[in-house]
C-alpha cells in the first residue's frame, strides 16, 4: 500500500513553481495560490487544535490548582467542592494504570495472535473474515460494551473472582476480602481488553503484511516449521510495529471513558485487589462527576483531564515516533 513510485521531487515541483509561471495566465496562478493557502490553512488548523486543547485545559484547570489545599499528586480523596477544597489524583492515576495494565496483559498477546492468524495461519478467505470480525468489534460503540459488561460479563465473572481468591489468594492481586464480586477493576480490565483488541490486532496485522515474502519463503524453504518461520522471519522485522501497536492500544485503554464508568464501582482508594468492588479512572471520574460538580469541581475535573491528556499524549507520541523511525529505515510509507 502506498508504495507508488513518486516523481523525482525536482520534477514534481516544476508544474507549480516554475512552469506554471510561464504557461499559466495571472488568473490561474492566483487560483493556485488561493487554493494552496486554503488547504495549508486547514492543515495549520489541525496543529492549532492540538495546541489549543493543551492551552485551554491548562488555563481552566488553574483555579482548581490554586484552590486545592491538599497535594494534587498524592491525595486520594476527591472533595473539590467542599470548603476548603481537598482533592488529588492518586487514586485516579492508580486505577487508570491498573485497569489499563490488566487490559494490556490480556489484549496484547491475543491481539498479536489474531494478527498472526489472519496473516500467516488462516487461508485467505478465513483470514479476511477474521479481519472483518475484529473491525466489527472496533465499530461497536463503547457504551454498548459498557452495557454488555454490566449486564452480561459482570455476573459471569463472579465465579472467576472466587476461583482466583480461593486458589491464588496468596497473591494480593487476586485476593478478595470483601466477599463481594460485583463491579471491579477485573471487570473493567476485561471489557477494556476486548475494546483494545481491534487496535492491537489491526495495527500488528498491517506490519505483518509488510514482512517481505522472500524472508517468509526462505525460512519455510529451509525446512522451518511455521512457528520457527514466525520467530525467525516475522518477529524481528515486525517488532517495532508490534511495540507501537501495543502502545497505541494502551493509549486507547487509558482514555476509555464510558464503558469503564459503567463497570467500575468508582471508589477513591488505592487497592491492588482486582476482584473487589472499587477502582476509578481519570476518564470515568470525569463522566460520573461532571453533572454534580460546582465551579471548583469542574476545574478539578479539567485538571485531571489535563493529566490524562499528557499521559495519552506521551504514550501516543512514543508509539508514533517508533513507527516513524522504522518507516524511515525501511524506506516505506508508515
Amino acid at each position: 500500500m502506498g508504495t507508488t513510485p513518486r516523481l523525482d521531487p525536482a520534477l514534481a515541483t516544476s508544474p507549480d513553481e516554475d512552469a506554471s509561471r510561464q504557461v499559466l495566465g495571472p488568473a490561474e496562478r492566483r487560483g493556485d495560490q488561493v487554493f494552496r493557502a486554503v488547504s495549508r490553512g486547514a492543515a495549520q488548523l489541525i496543529l492549532l487544535l492540538l495546541a489549543a486543547i493543551a492551552l485551554f485545559l491548562v488555563w481552566r484547570a488553574f483555579p482548581a490548582f490554586q484552590a486545592n489545599t491538599a497535594s494534587f499528586l498524592t491525595t486520594t480523596a476527591w472533595f473539590p467542592d467542599q470548603d476548603p477544597p481537598v482533592f488529588g489524583i492518586a487514586a485516579l492515576a492508580f486505577g487508570t494504570v491498573l485497569t489499563a495494565a490488566v487490559a494490556m496483559v490480556l489484549a496484547v498477546p491475543v491481539g498479536y495472535g489474531i494478527a498472526l492468524f489472519t496473516v500467516f495461519y488462516a487461508d485467505r478467505r478465513v483470514g479476511a473474515a477474521a479481519g472483518f470480525i475484529t473491525d466489527l468489534l472496533a465499530a461497536v460503540p463503547s457504551i454498548v460494551f459498557g452495557l454488555w459488561g454490566l449486564a452480561v460479563l459482570q455476573p459471569h465473572l463472579g465465579g472467576l473472582g472466587q476461583w482466583l481468591n480461593t486458589y491464588l489468594g496468596a497473591i494480593p492481586l487476586f485476593r478478595n476480602d470483601s466477599g463481594l464480586y460485583t463491579k471491579s477493576i477485573l471487570v473493567a480490565g476485561i471489557v477494556l481488553a476486548i475494546m483494545v483488541l481491534p487496535t492491537v490486532s489491526a495495527l500488528s496485522r498491517e506490519v505483518f503484511v509488510r514482512v517481505p515474502a522472500t524472508h517468509v519463503e526462505a525460512a519455510l524453504a529451509l525446512g522451518a516449521t511455521r512457528w520457527e518461520m514466525v520467530r525467525a522471519s516475522v518477529l524481528p522485522f515486525a517488532r517495532p510495529g508490534m511495540v507501537s501497536a501495543a502502545m497505541l492500544g494502551l493509549g486507547r485503554a487509558l482514555g476509555e471513558t464510558i464503558a469503564v464508568a459503567l463497570v467500575l464501582s468508582a471508589a477513591f482508594d488505592v487497592s491492588w485487589q482486582l476482584s473487589e468492588p472499587g477502582g476509578n479512572t481519570f476518564a470515568a471520574n470525569i463522566a460520573l462527576k461532571w453533572n454534580e460538580a460546582g465551579p471548583i469541581g469542574l476545574s478539578a475535573l479539567i485538571a485531571s483531564g489535563l493529566v490524562l491528556f499528557a499521559l495519552t499524549l506521551a504514550v501516543n507520541v512514543t508509539a508514533r515516533a517508533i513507527l516513524a523511525r522504522r518507516a524511515r529505515f525501511s524506506g516505506g510509507a508508515a
Binding site: A139, V140, G223, I258, A287
Partner: protein, 357 residues
Amino acid sequence: MSRVETYATAALVEDALRGQRLPGWAAPAAAGLAVMTALLLAVATPVDGVAGTAVVAVLLFVGLQTAWSVRVEGRRHAVDRLATTAVHAAFLAAVLPLLSVLVTLIAKGIRAMSGEFLTTSMRGVSPTSAGGGLYHALIGTLEQVGIAVLLAIPLGVLAAIYLVEYGQHAGHRGFARAVGFVVDVMTGVPSVVVGLFVYTALVLTLGLGRSGLAASVALTILMLPMVVRSCEEMLRVVPDELREASYALGVPRWRTIVRVVVPTAMGGIVTGAMLAVARAAGETAPLLLTTFLSKSVNADPTNGPQAALPTFLWDQIASSTPASVDRAWGAALVLVLVVTALYLTARILARTTGVKR
C-alpha cells in the same frame, strides 16, 4: 540470517533422523478425547460449570497433543502445534465476546423494539414506567453527526490535499511532516479530553452554552484526524500519470486537484469519511460533557438541551429500572444498527469504487 541457518540445519538433521509426522486426524482425535474426558470429569468430580469444563478440555487437548507430538514428531513440531493452537485460540477469544455482544443485543433489543419506541420521545414518561421511545435522541444524533460531517469532511479533505499535493515541495516538507505527526497523535487523544476542550473553549470561554452544536464541534474534532488519514492514503495512490497528463494539457494545479485527483480518489474518501462517521456516532463521553440530556424533541442544535442516542442510552442505564434497562437495550440495538449500516456501506463502497490501479 544465522538463526534461519540454525533452524535449517536442525530441521534437516531431525527430518533425516525421524521423518514421521502425526496423521491428519490426530488433532481432531485429541480434541474429541479431551472434550469427552472433560465432560466425564464435569459429571464425576466437583469441577463443573461451562467455563470450568471448557478450560479443562482445552488444557487436556494441549497436553494430549503435545505429548503425542513430542513422541512421534519431536520437539520442534510439538512446539509448532502448540503455537498453532495458541493462535487459533486467540482468534476464538475475539469471536466469543463479539458473538456474545451481538446475541444479547439482538435478543434483548428486539423486545424493546416497536413502532412506538421509534416514533415517540420520552416526554412525560417516568423512568419506571414502560413506553416512550428514542425519537428525540434519533433526531439529535442525526443533527449532531450531520453538522460534524459538514465541518470535518471539507476541513479534513483540504488538509489531506495539502499534505499530499503540496507537502512534497521544498519548503513545505518539514511543516507537512509535523502536521502528519500531529494528525496521528490526535487520533489517540481520548474523546473525553476532546469533550473537556470543547466545554472549556466554547462553553466557558465563548459562552455558547451546552447544546447540540457544542457536541457537534467535539465530534468534528474526533472525526478530523480519521478523515485526514484515510483521505491522505487515498490521494497518495492516485497515479502521478493522471496529474501529469492534466498539467500537460495546461490545466492549473488546483483545477487538476479538484477535477482529476479528488474525483479519482472519491470512492476511498467517502469510505474513510463514513468510517469516521460511524465512530463518531457512537461517542458518548464528549456528548455528556457538552450537552444536557433532554426528554423531548429539540430540533434546534444551537439552543437548549438536545438528546442523542448514546446519551439516551447512558440515561436509561443510569435509571436502572426494568423498564429503562429494556429501553437501553433497544437504543443500543438501534445505535449498533446505525453504526453497522454506515460501516458496511463504507466497506462495500471501498470494494466497488476504490482507485483502480
